[in-house]
């Protein structure tokens, strides 16, 4: 069946540290997004990245579609980066829907 895995499940960092979050998926995708769910539950778009590399400030993401994984990099982490990070994959092999991974819970300590 369709599988979307994220690692690590939990991550605790000191403010200023860097981190890498990983998303593995079981089938080829047409679409991949990274979201940040803040403590108030809002899902915020970080990247729309079915392939290639993008950067936005301290965050960057890389998707290697042929190897079925995506990475989210957070540099110089801040306490406001805390929350849960989800990857969502979608496309024809996923019933034209988005399937979400279980998320990585990040806690950044001051």
């Amino acid at each position: 069946g369709i599988q979307v895995e994220q690692s690590p499940p939990d991550l605790i960092l000191q403010e200023g540290a860097n981190s890498t979050l990983r998303c593995n998926f079981s089938d080829s995708v047409n679409n991949l997004q990274w979201f940040h769910q803040n403590p108030w539950g809002q899902l915020i778009n970080l990247f729309y990245i079915p392939s290639g590399t993008k950067q936005n400030g301290r965050l960057s993401a890389t998707t290697v579609a042929t190897e079925r994984y995506s990475l989210l990099y957070i540099s110089s982490s801040q306490t406001t980066d805390s929350g849960v990070y989800f990857c969502a994959v979608g496309g024809e092999n996923y019933g034209q829907n988005f399937v979400f991974g279980p998320g990585t819970r990040l806690s950044v300590l001051p």
């Binding site: 047409n30 969502a88 979400f100």
Partner: protein, 116 residues
């Protein structure tokens, strides 16, 4: 430009009562999704609309859940009767096109349901 708007943000009801959630997508977005998010888990699709047509409702528990998207714009998700296990966050999302094309998802703030 306004984002996806949902209401109510919070709802507390007793079991067996009905409840309805409303969603207004981003203007021009043809595709609308309702997701269910249980505590500590990722969102799970309930139903997807392309314009006014429900093209995927395979995960919608049809014995108690119903949804509609009249005129292909805003949408309502209803639960009747609610059960204790329905306590969760109900998320609405919209996208300009299908997942395989310009399908970037945008979410509303969600409706948190507590069934007592």
């Amino acid at each position: 430009e306004a984002g996806v708007v949902q209401s109510p943000r919070y709802k507390i009801i007793e079991k067996k009562q009905p409840v309805a959630f409303w969603c207004n997508p981003i203007s021009g977005h043809n595709t609308l999704y309702w997701y269910l998010q249980n505590l500590g888990q990722g969102p799970e699709l309930l139903i997807r609309y392309e314009n006014e047509e429900a093209v995927d409702d395979s995960q919608l528990p049809k014995d108690r859940f119903s949804a509609e998207r009249l005129k292909g714009v805003d949408s309502t998700l209803k639960i009747q009767p609610a059960e204790l296990g329905d306590s969760a966050v109900y998320l609405c999302a919209s996208s300009l096109g299908a997942v395989a094309n310009t399908g970037e998802l945008f979410f509303g703030e969600g409706s948190r349901l507590t069934v007592l």
